[in-house]
Amino acid sequence: MNPLWSNTISPSVENTSKVGVCYHCGQPIQTIPITQDQRSFCCVGCETVYQLLKDHNLCKYYTLQETPNRKAVKPLPKDQFAYLDLPEIQDQLILFKEGKTSLVSFFLPDIHCSSCIWLLEHLYRVNTGIRRSVVNFSSKEIQIWFSPQEISLRGVAETLTALGYEPIIQGHSDSKTNDHNLLLRLGVAGFCFGNIMLLSFPEYLSLDASNSHQLEIIFSGLIVLLSIPVLFFSGWPYLFSAWKALRRGTITLEVPLALGMGVMFIRSLWDLGIGAGPGFMDTLAGLVFFLLIGRWFQQKVYAHLSFDRNYKSYFPLAVTKVIENEVEEIVPLSHLRIGDKVKIRNQEIIPADSLLITGQGQIDYSFVTGESILQEGNPGDFLYAGGRQTGGILTVQLVKPVSESYLTKLWNHETFHKTKEVAFSGFSAKVSHWFTIAIIGVAVSASAWWLFEGESRRALEAFTAVLIIACPCALALSSPFALGNALRYLERNRLYVKNTATVEAMASLSSIVLDKTGTLTEKHQAEVSYEGIRLGSEASLFSELFKQSVHPLSRILAQWLGSGDPTVVFSSFQEFPGKGLTGVINGISCRAGSSLFVRGIPETGTGTRVWLMAEGQILGCLKIQQPYRKGLGSVIQALRSKYKLNLVSGDVSEGQEGISDFFEINEPVRFSQSPEDKLLFIQKLQKKGNKVLMLGDGLNDAGALKQSEVGIALTEDSTAFTPASDAILEASAFQQLPQMLKFCRNTLQTIYFSFGLSLAYNITGLYFAIQGNMSPLFAAVLMPISSITIIAFTTGMTRWHAGRGGLR
């Protein structure tokens, strides 16, 4: 069910420290261990948390599970949460204030086991200002009641961070509330259905109640009383949407449903009133109960996922503005203007397009473009918004307002102001339209026939019976159950689909648009290739040279070049930030870095390249690329057989090697696409009548994901930030995408079949109804039988299709 289950309580209760493994985080200790109470720790961060827990008598944390914390605690800047002191930010975050207590909710992605729950729910021991804390394990959220007089909001965030649970603070969290009322409506319908059936028992068993007329009246009265909430509370959503549809001049499936329900209620009132029979109240209650079960089954809430994030939930709430010289002020993002200078610390995000003034930029754009190789930035360089600085402090000057930056202006596009239309409603609406007309036609002609025969009472009975028996209960149940079941199968295979309408849309696609970097390529891996003179002993020299540098590229290259030769003698070493490295090793002068730095000429090739030079001779260059995903070839092959493929990439390079191996000549491959270009490209395809699936991963795909019929965001880690989309696919399940799409198409076929099946039931019922002598018992039996067969058929078929498609 939940992948997190694998991490629940393990029976091993050990209090002793394992050798070579950090007592707190369980990571192998690479440097000299820090020892405390005969326990070793990998870093000061872990040791600090241990100390903190020990001081507050919370060491039980370690006995619940061995090495409960998975991540080493990284030291964080001291005033990281300083912006939480701003009243404007507090107003956004604090859920409510009551007397001396405030309530705040934080998202803590590091919650992963029962020890976490225990520790986080004992926060009151760490700080007395915290009154109470409650963890929601599945959504990885914590609600904290605290007293602002004793501890500030910032203090709460810092306490959590000090324990190794850094909160992710987002201003614009979307509300993920279940339909509370649905559950209540379902409960009421079930209650009334059961009781009405019980009170109808004498009728079912043909027991003669005539010896007690009084009892019969009481039973009828109770049935009527019980059916009022069924129709007007439980069945309200159907009545309401039928009325809304009629006002718009359309006929949806709710119209014949509401018509049937209304007729059932009135006819039964009449029958019970004049004592003509038991009425159809049991059928009515059963109908509403089954329909609500379908509705409940259809809705699926993924507690830890969010489908509606825009850039605002990725960007910080506030930044450090540099006013003059050393004076700094923390201001909310909305207060930033062009020309403002902003300080960006390690792990902070560049809020708007800006110029780098001071500092050495090593910027991670992986959430924006999918490119995980860090971008270098030197003073004077232009930096795009959305990058995350990894390294020293930067000062940047804004050249664009936050909402007008290259990336963020995308959200001003009209696409973001409309909601997606439900694709499938076309078929369903068409069916309901003709269905409604047909049953009204049958009802009218049946009653006309009986009127002609001179039996006016029978005419009325036939008319109502037709509308009751034709109430498309099974029809209305088939798609919630088929699609709801499909959602669950897709979830198990790590494709999290927002709602059932998206599954319908996924079945009727004609075209697929793919993003390249981060989508078709692995995000957190690098593939190195070398072009040039064959490296002999130089390989180990350069390996040693790269080992001297902590630059991420150097680490990748040192690893690729092999273990090196630890006996080499360095006579000099120098690192030029943003350019390269020089060193004299074993008397050989080595130089590695950018083309300009090594060769003196600007780079002409594509991608990230590092040139090597030894003794003034250029040896060649190392090319660092993100490798293509495993099985990409077969996935593309499988998709090609059914869909038109397109590739849009924000990359500049057209000669990107490898990609042409996967795509055929007639398949458009577009490079240098801005976020808006991607959106417009999708629009163009749609104008040609295509139904488009967009598969992307970064914020620069957000427009295309929104514009397309189905936007799927690919992510390596489902708790990480993903742009707004209709579905989230975990990268590990990428290879199964073609099977998943096929499964959606099969699910829709199942729905068509079950529509046919339920129509057959309706026609059988109609045969008896037009004769005007349908007994209520017949309806009470036919309705549940048809509903249950449809439920069994649709769930069984989706299960079969899932198994055939290799989905677990």
Partner: protein, 70 residues
């Protein structure tokens, strides 16, 4: 037959109590998170709930000291 009426009233009342219990459970959010409570109950709070002796020192300053050390 009047015993029937009594029985029906009784059974409806009993069922009504369960319906109310369901309402209460749904309104207090007991159907929203079905995982955390199942994990929480596995941890027994057997050790004494007493706070450590040094509560006189504000725990917040302690936290700050701790992070300051890094």
């Amino acid at each position: 037959m009047s015993v029937m009426i009594l029985l029906i009233v009784f059974s409806m009342l009993t069922a009504g109590v369960f319906l109310l219990a369901f309402f209460w459970a749904a309104q207090t959010g007991q159907f929203e998170d079905s995982i955390t409570p199942s994990l929480r109950m596995l941890i027994d709070d057997s050790e004494p709930e007493s706070l450590p002796a040094d509560t006189s020192i504000s725990p917040l300053t302690k936290t700050e000291n701790a992070t300051g050390k890094i």
